[in-house]
């Protein structure tokens, strides 16, 4: 039985004093936060419940997912002061099963980043739990960091658009699970890119994922892309595994850790030339196009930051509020998306990228006719030092997502799991399954956890 389930049984039966447990966890989070900066907000008055499938389970929520009455900024100064009037569907479902919301975790503003260094103006950059001179990864860095450091029963609710769950999970040495697109409702998620955003889970152990996924997944009429049908997490058959060969440069020690795990499962080498060659460009064009329209609603009028309106024209006012409150990467991605949607460029960029996305989805579909699971490194290397990140260009930042953009474009379930260490820093392996085959993925992750020594 998972540690999480045992904890719930103890809370249900009164063996654990839930009130003290929650208070102690909140205090611990405050201590950790002073040193590592994983939370934008900690809920000091977190309630507790003795009833439900997740009674007394402590949950941190990425700051781009709405929690009723708790400041939800998506990591940007633009939304400072915004306290949603409703819970995101996933959060509401967790609360209704007795989970306790601990707070809102740090992220790159609107999810725009690979290291959690693109935080909003005035926000703290979280530090890696293994080495404070290094990044947590992004964009769900706060969720990954607190999952690694928590010495209480804890689950992080996070979100991935192009790798924002897998990347920080890899860098912080935890399990990061991203379900099929549409499996978990996006209602209440502050959108980065609608066709790519997925809410998922981070935990310390694989067994703790299923009980949470069962609660947060399921059809939601408030999300037009929500999947119909029940989720089946129980797979008992054999698994055929393929390891994806890539042309990207991977650190030799990282590669060795993944190859060792692949050998344990008798993985065949397979190739994905389209995802490999065109994935980054297709992903960044589609995601920034969608982001540039999504962020148009942030205009300083109805919520979030605003300004002096008197005597100003429509354009002057909106441009002023947006220019003062968006950080540099937010501006860069809004501009990139605006450019790629402009008359004369739309077909060459957005439509072409969307067609390549079709070919990449097909590339995965064909491989899943033969294989149940595909694996690759999650990231090309371990978490970089802040001093190295400062020297990188935006394009070099984007190239770090070379392994994670493929499964995100295809909307397939995927996860990162620790498979080794390089000089004291964790190495993650990414595993992917076909649409709706979360059960196969969980079975494989469980085998990796049990059979691959770190």
């Amino acid at each position: 039985m998972s540690g999480l389930k045992k904890h719930v049984l103890r809370v249900n039966s009164g063996q654990i004093d839930a009130a003290s447990y929650v208070n102690d966890a909140v205090k611990r989070c405050e201590e950790i936060n002073k040193e590592y900066g994983y939370f934008n907000t900690i809920c000091t008055d977190a309630g507790f419940s003795k009833k439900g499938k997740l009674a007394g389970v402590l949950v941190s929520v990425k700051d781009n997912i709405c929690v009723k009455g708790v400041e939800s900024t998506a990591g940007s100064r633009m939304l400072k002061g915004y306290r949603p009037l409703f819970d995101a569907t996933a959060v509401g479902r967790l609360k209704s099963e007795g989970a306790v919301i601990l707070g809102k975790t740090s992220c790159d503003a609107f999810g725009f980043g690979s290291f959690n260094t693109n935080v909003g103006i005035g926000f703290d950059v979280p530090k890696n739990p293994f080495d404070k001179k290094r990044a947590t990864g992004g964009s769900s860095g706060g969720g990954a960091g607190i999952t690694a450091k928590a010495d209480f029963v804890h689950v992080a609710i996070v979100e991935s658009t192009g790798g924002s769950i897998e990347n920080p999970a890899s860098f912080c040495g935890v399990v990061g699970f991203c379900p099929t697109y549409g499996r978990v409702s996006r209602n209440g998620l502050i959108s980065y890119a609608n066709s790519l955003d997925k809410i998922g889970i981070m935990t310390k152990s694989v067994a703790d994922i299923a009980p949470v996924l069962e609660v947060i997944s399921g059809f939601d009429p408030r999300d037009a892309t929500s999947l119909q049908g029940e989720i089946d997490l129980d797979y008992r058959g054999d698994l055929r595994v393929g390891i994806v060969g890539q042309s990207a440069s991977v650190d030799p020690l990282v590669s060795r850790c993944v190859q060792r795990a692949a050998a344990r499962f008798g993985a065949d080498e397979v190739s994905m030339p389209l995802a490999d060659k065109f994935g980054i460009a297709a992903y960044y064009i589609i995601s920034t196009c969608e982001a540039s329209t999504n962020l148009a609603c942030l205009s300083g009028l109805r919520y979030g930051q605003d300004g002096e309106m008197k005597g100003r024209s429509f354009s002057d006012y909106f441009s002023d509020v947006r220019s003062r409150n968006f950080n540099e990467e937010s501006k860069r991605r809004i501009m990139l998306g605006t450019f790629a949607r402009m008359a004369g460029h739309r077909d060459a960029y957005y439509i072409k990228a969307s067609k390549i996305r079709t070919l990449i989805i097909e590339e995965y579909r064909k491989l899943f006719e033969t294989y149940d699971i595909l694996i690759s490194p999650t990231m090309p290397d371990v978490a970089p030092r802040f001093s190295d990140i400062e020297k990188m260009t935006p394009l070099e930042n984007y190239m770090m997502d070379v392994f994670t953009v493929g499964p995100n474009l295809a909307g397939i379930p995927h996860a990162s799991i620790p498979v080794g260490m390089k000089k004291g820093m964790p190495v993650g392996m990414m595993a992917m399954a076909n649409h709706n085959e979360e059960g196969k993925l969980l079975k494989f992750l469980s085998s990796v956890e049990n059979e691959v020594c770190i």
């Binding site: 002061g81 915004y82 009037l85 697109y181 066709s195 790519l196 009429p221 892309t225 929500s226 999947l227 389209l274 060659k277 065109f278 460009a281 297709a282 960044y284 064009i285 540039s292 205009s299 009028l301 109805r302 919520y303 979030g304 605003d306 309106m309 100003r312 024209s313 429509f314 006012y317 909106f318 441009s319 002023d320 947006r322 220019s323 968006f326 501006k331 860069r332 809004i334 501009m335 990139l336 605006t338 450019f339 060459a348 072409k352 990228a353 969307s354 067609k355 390549i356 996305r357 079709t358 070919l359 989805i361 260009t393 935006p394 394009l395 474009l409 295809a410 909307g411 397939i412 649409h435």
Partner: protein, 92 residues
């Protein structure tokens, strides 16, 4: 291709300083050069995917549902009057 950074910023409703314009101009050159990789693939006859999973157009019954009350919708702004949002002047 010379990227018209200034006009993109105007479309995107962003006022950029001179250093920002220079920086973004350089970044865009590098990024769009890398994106030219897309020119190497022929996608004639391929349908674009606007989402990763095939889904039918979800429709709901055409009836009024519960939504935010007017005072709730206005809770987070100072720009309001008589139950309405106040916006900047749109006609000069």
């Amino acid at each position: 291709m010379k990227v018209p950074i200034k006009s993109i910023s105007e479309l995107a409703k962003l006022n950029l300083s001179e250093p920002e314009l220079k920086r973004f101009s350089k970044d865009f050159d590098e990024i769009l050069t890398a994106f030219r990789v897309l020119d190497r693939i022929n996608v004639d006859g391929v349908r674009p995917s606007f989402r990763p999973v095939e889904q039918r157009n979800p429709l709901r019954e055409d009836k009024v549902e519960k939504s935010l009350r007017q005072e709730e919708a206005l809770l987070f702004t100072d720009h309001k009057e008589n139950g309405f949002f106040i916006g900047p002047k749109t006609v000069e």
